[in-house]
Subunit: 405 residues, 2 copies
């Protein structure tokens, strides 16, 4: 039984957050820096962007997570500290060091994360003041929770957060998460920001394998615009304060319960990101069935999802399904046209290489729905995949043509 | 010496065209079917889409071109005859057969091409009437030329055509071309429609190698929206009526002259397609220098060109160069951040992994230009590539959200 409860990363035992506006965002009401802190040191695992150009905080945090112990995350929005060379690396180190001093913890147990514009040095005076103020405001009530979720937003319209409770080995275990991401979303092995906390007791190796597995079927299966960020990060902290019997690869049923709850949290966060995709008006689920391999299925799903012609057709509520089939055709996967079947929200429109005629009447009313499911059957095997994306609207162009200057 | 002359595919000796409105397009003023006819049978070579899902006319024309001899092309816009199964294949055959009867030529020497909406059967009564009328209107004056160029247009705003004269072995040789394409443009090995005619005498093998070479550096180096069509086709007809000494792989200098003129024609057509890209307001040249291999350079150039974040930044005249560098970072090519240099219209803004500070003042005025050149130096080797694309505008979304229904 997984039960959703109010709050987010401060919901598990021993977790606190604090955030403020330090001057990175123009609107003074918007927090732009914050700290997530655990009373006890946590086992931690994280996944980072596969982009060859990575932001300075990613370089630092990779090292921090390698050792497996983390007690705090310091995060800012408004500036990604990417493409900033040695000075940028130094600035990320300063953030970790100052945070550790303020919290009286080890500097190499602080994850640093930055998101926002690329190619600008951080205004360190503002950042320092922000870290000091955030550390003085730590707490775990609803205001702390909502503020930290908002502090990591860039072009996001809504905060994305969740907390769930489940029972593992007779003990109540809580998992909380906050996420951000709206544009530059096409994660591969990791994604944007999602910070997850739990009071579960779990071994480091098991935690690493759990977060990898959850990410594979959630964040790695979403795309907004096909542009992979320099700063993607999914990180989980587990402080063990739920006092459950330690979860390891040997405690099969406890592990299954934890994985299930974690999958629930990551999938929820991933879908929230797509729903809040820049300019999104539709939530699109793409299912590819009967592929020879999962890899083939994923290639086709992603090619359909990233075709601007498919995305604009759905934006226009236009059942122009030829664009979906032709996108599948250039995914570099062998196809047999005469075996293809395409349905939208379970209405079949193309079968055995031929349009269903007359075109189903319900189709145009289905296209008006907020949630569209595209179901492509390849007839080549028995592997499947599901991927989530959103449409491409004029608002996406507005948001991104006017973002910087 | 390559000299541009008025006209297009009817400019070479012995070439004629005829076209009419047969009812595929809504506006009766717009021609939607046409025939290109050579008095003499032509050697012919063509390149077709690499999409796994190909339109019926592509299947037929592949066979026609295999034999190397062609005397006519019949082409319609408004309906792609794609995803239409056996009936679609039969319809394409009927188009070739009727055309051959009307012109008193062999049916297996007629190329068939269709462009427009995918997944609808051709209205064959209209098509038949269109072929008969087109064959009765054949001619080679300016009106015939402009009409055939317009008859192949779909969302194109302007007809794309060219004719050039050059001297080969003391004889005047003419090459003419018409092209269409505005959306669903991301050719690989071939592209949209470009029909090229010449009166050059040239061996079949040489013609095949020339058109392949020209396409590689022109149509294969453009992208509008990254969506590869089911119907892409580049075809050249050479009827030998210029009476030049036959061009073969042994006549090195004549071959070089012909290749140069053909390159000129294909590059011109390719750039015209990008400039008329759906909703395009900017023409963008992407140069990648100092790559380890041409393939690496092409991957990076294409990833930059197809990033909606790069395209919208340029649409917004916003020097948000972090998007360009981060796109290069996810092209699946090994990079060394500290060796990168990025310039826009020769203004360097990022060097050795660091932003040039203060940001060059001329940058924002440069972003206002109609033609933007992005120059990325990798510092990894000595291979280069150039690719052409356009920006992503609200108009692109409008055009494609409202295209079908």
């Amino acid at each position: 039984m997984i039960k959703t409860i109010p709050g987010n990363i401060t919901a598990p035992k021993g977790l606190k957050a604090g955030s403020v506006h330090c001057g990175l965002k123009r609107n003074k009401k918007n927090h732009d820096i914050g700290i997530i802190f655990s009373e006890q040191p946590c086992k931690s695992a994280a996944l980072f962007t596969k982009n060859q150009i990575v932001a300075a905080p990613i370089k630092l945090s990779r090292k921090v997570v390698k050792d497996g112990m983390v007690q705090a995350i310091v995060v800012n929005s408004g500036n990604a500290n990417a493409c900033t060379g040695k000075r940028g690396e130094k600035d990320a180190e300063t953030m970790a060091l100052l945070t550790s001093k303020q919290l009286n913890i080890k500097a190499n147990e602080v994850i640093v994360a930055s998101t926002g514009i690329i190619g600008h040095h951080l205004p360190m005076a503002k950042i320092k003041s922000g870290i000091i103020q955030s550390s003085e405001r730590l707490g775990n009530n609803n205001t702390h929770a909502i503020n930290i979720a908002k502090a990591i937003m860039t072009t996001d319209l809504v905060p994305k957060h969740i907390a769930v409770k489940t029972k593992i080995g007779g003990k109540e275990v809580t998992i909380g998460a906050i996420a951000k991401g709206s544009g530059m979303i096409s994660p591969d092995m990791a994604t944007m920001f999602c910070f997850i906390t739990t009071d579960a007791a779990i071994s480091l190796n098991t935690l690493r394998s759990c977060i990898k597995k959850s990410t594979e079927s959630s964040f790695n299966q979403i795309t907004v615009d096909g542009h992979m960020s320099t700063s993607d990060m999914v990180a989980i902290l587990a402080n063990g304060m739920a006092n459950n019997h330690n979860i390891t690869s040997s405690t099969k049923s406890d592990l299954a319960l934890f994985q299930k709850a974690l999958d629930y949290v990551t999938l929820n966060m991933a879908k929230e990101i797509v729903k809040d995709g820049e300019g999104a008006t539709k939530f699109i689920q793409i299912e590819v069935h009967e592929a020879k391999s999962v890899s083939d299925a994923k290639k086709i799903a992603r090619t359909i999802a990233e075709s601007p012609l498919v995305k604009t057709a759905i934006n226009g509520e236009d059942p122009n399904w030829g664009r979906i089939v032709s996108a599948a055709g250039y995914a570099r996967v062998t196809l047999d046209e005469s075996k293809l079947k395409l349905s939208v929200n379970n209405i079949t429109i193309y079968k055995k290489g031929l349009p269903v005629t007359p075109a189903p009447k319900r189709l145009s009313s289905v296209m008006k729905k907020k949630e569209i499911t595209i179901q492509l059957h390849l007839g080549m095997g028995n592997k499947n995949t599901t991927l989530w994306t959103c449409d491409l609207s004029k608002e996406y162009v507005s948001i991104n043509a006017d973002y910087h200057t």
